[in-house]
């Protein structure tokens, strides 16, 4: 049992995982170095003294062919001994102090004793000492699986691949501007009308203004219009539809709530989450800064090309002020907030997996291209050879991803964070002197306890009581975890108790390098060939500048992506915006423009939108404005059997799509009608309040998902623990990039609206508002309630149903012996709840 105890401590204590570059030797230097020339004498020494000792005492756990590779450390090649394992390089030639292998065999540090079961003879230890001091001569070369170096051959014809529609530059078509008096109001409409006419379809009429105002409010700010706003719109629309729509759109685009609505769309694409997910699920207490950055970017109408550049390479961009610098640094959280297997034993594997996740997200988010499919073999469907994958992977491998997280048992992959300029807000409150002292004191206590426990276990072990020592393991591990969490807490305050502002993000490594191509994507199976850092060959732009040897290439990657000659970026984004407004993308597979994706329903329109986007300096608001002021957007969603038979999925837009509100809008609208909605932005997030830790272990769901009246975009998005109010209504999985939500209708949603505290409390608040604040009763109250929920008065039939409902409910309540007062209260609150629960509340026509 002892070895387990020892190893666990070794993995989790002492040094921070040595990042490549910190040990003086860089990955690049190691990987590129060929075996130095050694003298025969040196080689003899290695072969006679060192190799046999390594084989005998170390290979069982630290070789490719061993039972298990422990601590991520391989000692069977020179190269891997220098790279080292999770805790740092095993051997640093000539430097005994830095060589962890030597420290371990000395058996002086109880956390670091190797081999675990016994101490080596003094003679062997002396041999290792001599060997390291003489420069650790080591003739062992990296093995290749098959003996000969593996080779990679490209099987893809890039030139032929360029024929696919999405790789050809968008072209302006000669569609004439709409004539006065025709159905079309702007260019968008001429394309839509043409598609419809070709298929023999006719357009639905315009939606009525009540429907339209609701559509605009939900689509642009994710909230229902108030009664006054509805009335003003209806009045204005009667006189001048065009101006009224234009004015309303401008008002909505200028609201803070616009960024909250549209930022959330982007957060789906950015697979935003506030924890690492997977098995360890460590919290990301600083992720919220990225959330706020995205919201602010949409509100400021940050040009989309800049938005992209900042997210990929913000740390490398010029900034004119500390505030702008902070913004740029925060933007790179995009690359750091993905899911991570923090328990990965093999550090090289972890780095490749991390780069893969970044590459996958980047290429799908901006290019709707599944580059990550080419990690193990040439892409099976798209013209992307493996070489392209590793060209791009090299860019991410040459960047250091800083995401924090607390150290603990199995959480082996903690990193530092990026500190922000002093002007940035921190997201937690200042600690008093007393609290600071308490925090440090707690740390001392926890550390003392850990020492006490380890000493005790050690004593037990030495006295031969293995079972006793084993029994203490859990206690020790718990104490160890507490140390990690407390350390992280202390680090986040300065000496005066002011919280230090950190962000997640990326930085260039000191020594960037090109990635080897890995056969079948296996980190242990590299070819000799390195893929020069670069992009996809299938897309050539004129602005491709060379990547210097001392930079990762992220800046160039961002330039390549945002080049007007990149045929994908503008199309992909314009298609996303179209889909978020219209309900379905022109290309329905919004995250896949490859050959397995769908073709655009209106290719010319897509090109027009892409070119318009670029021409308007990549303004999202301009693009939205153009779409929502079109006739197409204004259509009614009315059913028509003849049209439906021809085009049931409405691909050619003979009417407006009926849209189910997404989870956030549904929750926010419920809060809005209950008058509970708090439109302020909370400082940080519940996750930053709770701080570092591990979900399901020291952090429980009840701590995170506390009741909140803030907009849904501000709820904690912890992977695996998305609040029920969102997850039940098809919120996107925060572990996966997703440009499109699913729509399900299942009884668990009905149960939520019938029985949850949230639904009941909201309905009560709405009823109290109508009675106490609006001083309404009877039909006037019912009318106001309908207006609040549906932006329209009740129909006559609904009025009758409402009256009947109240009477019927009172009867039943009487039969249940409820007091008159209670019965009336419940009749009213359940009436409000019914309005919120109905289909109309959830569907936009």
């Amino acid at each position: 049992m002892m070895p387990v105890l020892n190893r666990t401590l070794l993995l989790t204590t002492c040094l921070l995982p040595a990042l490549i570059g910190q040990s003086g030797l860089t990955q690049e230097m190691i990987m590129n170095s060929t075996a130095p020339k050694y003298s025969d004498e040196q080689i003899n020494f290695f072969e006679s003294k060192i190799r046999p000792a390594l084989v005998k005492h170390c290979y069982k756990c630290h070789s490719e062919d061993g039972d298990k590779i422990k601590g991520g450390l391989l000692l069977d090649t020179r190269e891997m001994s220098l790279v080292g394992g999770d805790t740092g390089p095993a051997v640093v030639p000539g430097d005994l102090d830095e060589s962890l292998l030597y420290a371990a065999i000395l058996y002086t540090d109880s956390d670091l004793e190797m081999p675990p079961k016994y101490k080596l003879d003094d003679g062997v230890i002396a041999d290792f000492r001599t060997w390291i001091e003489m420069g650790a001569p080591d003739p062992r070369e990296r093995k290749s699986k098959s003996g000969a170096p593996a080779e990679y051959t490209n099987t893809i014809d890039i030139e032929a691949g360029r024929d696919h529609w999405a790789y050809q530059l968008p072209s302006a078509s000669s569609e004439p501007s709409p004539e006065a008096g025709s159905w079309s109001l702007n260019e968008i409409d001429t394309f839509i009308a043409k598609g419809r006419e070709t298929a023999g379809l006719t357009a639905a009429g315009d939606a009525n203004p009540l429907t339209l105002v609701r559509r605009l409010y939900f689509d642009l700010i994710g909230l229902p219009p108030g009664q006054e706003e509805v009335e003003a719109f209806v009045a204005g629309y009667g006189a001048d539809p065009k101006t009224t729509i234009a004015k309303t759109v401008d008002t909505l685009l200028a609201k803070e709530q616009f960024g909250e609505r549209w930022g959330r769309h982007w957060l789906d694409v950015a697979r935003y989450g506030e924890s690492s997910g997977k098995e360890i699920n460590a919290t990301f207490p600083h992720a919220w800064r990225y959330r706020d950055y995205v919201i602010d970017a949409f509100n400021a109408d940050k040009p989309f090309d800049e938005f992209v550049q900042e997210q990929i390479a913000g740390d490398l961009l010029e900034a004119e002020s500390p505030e702008e610098k902070a913004e740029h640094l925060i933007a790179t959280s995009f690359l750091a907030i993905g899911t991570k297997g923090l328990n990965e034993v093999n550090s090289r594997q972890f780095r490749f997996d991390l780069a893969d996740e970044q590459l996958d997200t980047t290429s799908q988010a901006f290019l709707a291209t599944t580059v990550a499919c080419a990690r193990c073999h040439d892409h099976k469907f798209d013209p992307i050879p493996m070489g392209d994958y590793y060209s791009m992977a090299g860019i991410f491998l040459s960047s250091e991803t800083l995401y924090g997280t607390a150290e603990a048992l199995q959480s082996r992959r903690t990193t530092e964070l990026v500190s922000l300029p002093a002007t940035s807000k921190a997201g937690t409150e200042t600690k008093s002197l007393g609290e600071m002292i308490e925090m440090t004191y707690q740390m001392t206590l926890i550390e003392e306890r850990l020492t006490e426990l380890t000493d005790k276990a050690r004593d037990l072990r030495q006295s031969g009581d293995a079972d006793g020592a084993r029994a203490m393991l859990n206690q020790i591990l718990r104490a160890r975890n507490q140390v990690g969490i407390q350390e992280q807490l202390i680090k986040s305050y300065d000496d005066d108790g002011n919280p230090i502002a950190f962000t997640m993000g990326v930085q260039d490594r000191d020594e960037p390098f090109d990635s080897q191509i890995l056969i079948r994507g296996e980190e242990s199976n590299p070819t000799e060939e390195r893929a020069p850092r670069g992009f996809l060959q299938v897309i050539q732009t004129n602005n491709q500048s060379a990547i210097g040897t001392h930079e990762s290439g992220r800046r160039q990657l961002a330039e390549w992506i945002t080049s007007p000659e990149n045929p994908l970026t503008a199309r992909v984004y314009a298609n996303r915006v179209w889909g978020w407004l219209i309900g379905e993308g022109l290309v329905t597979s919004v995250d896949n423009f490859g050959t397995t994706g769908e073709k655009p329903s209106h290719p010319e329109l897509l090109d027009y939108l892409a070119l318009t986007l670029i021409d308007s300096s990549w303004s999202t608001k301009d693009l939205i404005r153009e779409i929502v002021t079109s006739r197409t957007y204004r259509m009614s969603s009315n059913y028509d059997e003849t049209q439906f038979e021809k085009d049931p999925e409405n691909r050619l837009l003979w009417r407006a799509n009926r849209k189910r509100l997404d989870a956030e809008s549904l929750r926010d609208a419920t809060l809005a009608v209950s008058q509970h909605l708090d439109l302020s932005r909370p400082e940080g997030s519940m996750v930053s309040q709770v701080g570092d830790g591990f979900v399901g272990r020291n952090i429980q769901e009840t701590q995170l998902n506390t009741p909140s009246n803030h907009r849904s975009v501000y709820l904690p998005i912890v992977r695996g623990l998305v609040p029920e109010s969102l997850s039940l209504f098809d919120f996107s999985d925060p572990s996966l990039l997703s440009g499109k939500r699913e729509v399900t209708t299942v009884p668990s949603q009905a149960l939520y609206l019938m029985n949850s505290d949230f639904a009941i409390n909201s309905a009560q608040a709405m009823a109290e508002y109508l009675v106490k604040e609006q001083k309404l009763k009877g039909p006037e109250l019912a009318k106001a309630a309908f207006y609040l929920c549906y932006s329209r008065p009740p129909t006559q039939e609904e009025g009758i149903h409402t009256r009947a409902y109240i009477e019927r409910f009172l009867e039943v309540a009487k039969a249940e012996n409820l007091s008159v007062e209670k019965s009336r209260y419940m009749a009213l609150t359940t009436f409000c709840q019914s309005l919120i629960s109905s289909a109309e509340f959830r569907y936009l026509n």
Binding site: I519, T744, T745, P747, A750, Y752, E816
Partner: protein, 459 residues
């Protein structure tokens, strides 16, 4: 409060009483049910021909379980382990031993010691193949028969074809599903046919076992069910008014039906999911006393209870089968988690005489390569893999089809996903070419224009 309520006299009650022998009561209730069938899309329907299986329990493994280490014994793979294979990585023999079990002598890996006791009930299909070796597409293919377009799932088709026997429970339940609602979706079929997810996904191992088969908000804290019925009638009137205005709006129909079902579920679901009244012996049978098996065991036991209560299609999910590395330990762990519960489920169904008309199926979206990935892993393999079925009209103790010497490609009696789907529908008494739904001017079917019934496995 206790006044007689005709609506409470559901088909469920009728069926319960009929099985107790009150035939005449049941008769009148069933006659009423038949009338209702025209109106109720979930009412039981007569299949095309006499079914062998009345319900399905689908044990869905996510990630692509390795067939050559579980149900496809490949002695030549072990012999050639370490040899180069042209264009592929070295072959990797299975680190697990296979032994023959039962009278049939089915070879089953040592990873399934308990399940192996049921060898004579298992119908192994060793010659499965599917179109793509990517998880999302292959999962969607397995569940809907199409990875390109949004199509109804197998469970939705089943429910559409047969209705359900208990109108107080969803006819199609998926327990603790992973993400990907399309895999239990109804696509263009009416929304009421989509699967109802119950419980939290267990991908995160910190989800407690009892949450993996639980449903929230099942009771209103303030209203009696009579009061709530009045409220739901009002909601219904609002929704019907909207439906009338919208003329054609399947999602609104779905919402109306989901409220009705939700209302009935409030009584029925807690009872079905309450396993506390099961005997200690039964709990042990499913491995509930053991931390390793408790999570999946609870799902299996819930599945049996639902099957008993008349749910038509029950899917149980288990994840983390994507063993690119650490095959030995991770595969062992996974199999340890499911072996006892599945064996318990089969035993229990048999003891209750339900296995004969319950089709139990175990499958992942594809298998894994006989070639090594690293030193201790396998890559995705869609060209040949294994699944098994038991009960409901399939031959037990059968090893059907085969892969090549090493388990790479299916070569003998190949079974494609479409064939598998066609066979499942056949066992349910449905002709896969006749089970169609008209949409967009075309008759759609689960098997598109494909699918051959695998006659060799029919009992």
């Amino acid at each position: 409060m206790n006044a007689f309520n005709p609506q409470a006299f559901s088909r469920r009650v009728a069926l319960k009483t009929s099985s107790c022998g009150f035939g005449y009561l049941a008769f009148s209730a069933l006659a009423a049910a038949a009338k209702e069938a025209e109106l109720n899309p979930l009412a039981p329907r007569t299949p095309h021909f006499a079914p062998k299986a009345k319900r399905i329990i689908f044990l869905s493994m996510q990630g692509g379980p390795s067939h050559v280490d579980t149900f496809d014994h490949k002695p030549l793979l072990n012999r050639d382990s370490g040899k180069e294979a042209k264009g592929f990585a070295k072959l990797l023999g299975s680190p697990f031993e296979f032994n023959q079990h039962g009278e049939s002598g089915l070879p089953i890996s040592e990873l399934f010691p308990q399940l192996a006791n049921h060898a004579d009930d298992l119908c192994l299909i060793n010659s499965m193949h599917t179109d793509l070796p990517n998880h999302p597409q292959a999962q969607t293919m397995m569940h809907t028969g199409n990875f390109q377009f949004v199509r109804p799932s197998l469970g939705a088709w089943t429910l559409y074809g047969l209705g359900t026997e208990n109108d107080s429970l969803p006819g199609f339940v998926t327990l603790a599903p992973p993400n990907g609602a399309q895999n239990y979706g109804s696509a263009f079929l009416p929304a009421i046919y989509q699967g109802t997810p119950i419980g939290k996904q267990a991908r995160n191992r910190f989800v407690a076992a009892d949450q993996q088969a639980a449903i929230s908000n099942i009771k209103n804290p303030q209203m009696t069910s009579e009061m709530q019925r009045v409220q739901l009638d009002f909601i219904k009137s609002l929704n019907e008014a909207k439906l009338k205005r919208d003329e054609f709006h399947p999602e609104v129909e779905g919402i109306i039906e989901s409220y009705e079902l939700a209302f009935r579920m409030q009584d029925e679901v807690p009872e079905v999911l309450d396993i506390s009244r099961e005997s200690e012996a039964t709990k042990k049978l499913y491995g509930l006393e053991n931390n390793t098996t408790a999570g999946f065991g609870r799902q299996c036991l819930s599945a049996r209870r639902m099957a008993e209560a008349g749910v038509r299609f029950i899917q149980i999910n288990h994840g983390n089968w994507d063993h690119h590395n650490n095959l030995r330990d991770s595969l062992t762990r996974n199999c340890n988690e499911i072996d006892q519960p599945i064996a318990g489920l089969l035993r229990d169904l048999k003891d209750r005489d339900m296995l004969k008309d319950t089709l139990v199926m175990w499958a992942g979206e594809f298998g894994r390569t006989p070639h090594a990935q690293g030193t201790n892993g396998r890559d995705h393999n869609n060209q040949g893999y294994s699944m098994w079925m038991a009960g409901g009209g399939v031959k037990g103790g059968l090893r059907y089809g085969a892969t090549d010497d090493h388990g790479h490609k299916a070569v003998l009696d190949k079974v494609h996903i479409h064939d598998w789907h066609a066979t499942i529908l056949h066992l349910l008494g449905l002709n896969h070419e006749k089970l169609t739904y008209r949409y967009a001017g075309r008759d759609f079917r689960l098997t598109d224009v494909h699918g051959e019934i695998v006659k060799g496995i029919l009992a």
